[in-house]
Symmetry: C2
Subunit: 155 residues, 2 copies
C-alpha cells in the first residue's frame, strides 16, 4: 500500500480519467476515427514497425482468441491491417498495419495525447515538473518496462 501523497496523487489522476474532461476523450477519438473501442484499442496496440502474432494480443489482453479473430477481421475489412503467415511457425498468423493503418494510428495518438485543459493551465515551470515526474513514473512501471525490453524479442 502506497504512502498518503502517492495515494492522493493517483486519486487525482483516476478522477481526471473517470470524471474529468478526459473521460469522454477515448469516446471522442473513436467517433472521430470511425472505429469502435475494440478496433481502436487494437489499432493503437499494434506496432507500426513489426508483425504482431495474434496470439500475443490474446495474452496481453486476456481475451479469447476468437475475439481477436473478430478484431483483426474488422481492421482488415477497413484496409487498416493485413494478416501474414509467420515465417517459421506456420500455425501462427501475424498482423501488420497497412500504410493507411499506420496513418490512422498516428492520428489516433495525436488526438489521444492532446492534454486536457487542467494540464494546460499549469505554469510553464509546473508543466515541465509534471512531465519529468510522470516520465519517472512510467520508467518505473513494471509492466511498461517489461514490455520495452521485450518489444523486439516478441518472437
Amino acid at each position: 500500500m502506497g504512502t498518503r501523497p502517492a495515494q492522493e496523487a493517483w486519486k487525482s489522476i483516476v478522477t481526471l480519467f473517470f470524471e474529468g474532461e478526459a473521460h469522454r476523450r477515448m469516446h471522442d477519438v473513436c467517433a472521430d476515427i470511425g472505429l469502435n473501442p475494440g478496433l481502436m484499442k487494437t489499432l493503437i496496440t499494434l506496432s507500426p514497425d513489426a508483425d504482431t502474432p495474434m496470439r500475443e494480443l490474446t495474452e496481453r489482453w486476456g481475451v479469447d482468441a476468437s475475439y481477436v479473430t473478430t478484431l483483426v477481421d474488422g481492421l482488415e475489412e477497413k484496409g487498416l491491417a493485413t494478416r501474414r503467415p509467420h515465417i517459421t511457425d506456420r500455425r501462427v498468423k501475424t498482423v501488420v498495419l497497412t500504410p493507411a493503418g499506420k496513418r490512422m494510428r498516428e492520428r489516433a495518438f495525436a488526438l489521444l495525447h492532446e492534454p486536457p485543459k487542467g494540464i494546460c493551465r499549469l505554469s510553464a515551470v509546473e508543466q515541465r515538473q509534471l512531465r519529468d515526474l510522470m516520465r519517472k513514473v512510467t520508467d518505473a512501471d513494471p509492466v511498461l518496462s517489461a514490455r520495452a525490453e521485450g518489444t523486439v524479442a516478441a518472437r
Copy 2:
C-alpha cells in the same frame, strides 16, 4: 493545442492508464467486488449522501434511459441501492445507496485509488510534488469544477 511539456506529461499519464500496471486495475476491482463494469461505474457515480435522479445519470453519461433502468435494476437486485420517488415531481425516480451499497462503494474506491508501483517508487519529495501538481490539474478541470459547484444543486 497544449505546449510540448503538457503533451508529454499527458502522454505519460495516458500510457500509464492504457498500457501500464494500471490498465487492468478497473478490471481487477470489478472482479474483486463482483460487479460488471457498468454496475461498478454506477456504484461509484452515485453520491453516498444524496438521492440521484435517474435522469441525471443518462445525461451525465450520454446513455439511453432504458440502460439506466437496467443498471439500477442490477444494483437493486444485489441490495446495493433502492429507488425512491421524487418528493415534488412524481414522474422522477431517484436512486439511493443502501448501507451495503455505501460500504461497497468505499471498498471500490479504496482498491481503485491504490497507486501503481511507478508512483510509489518516487521519492517522498517527488510524491508530494506530484500530488500538488495533480491537485492543481483537477482543480483547473472545467468538468470537475462545474460538477463541484452543481453537486448539491443537482435538483
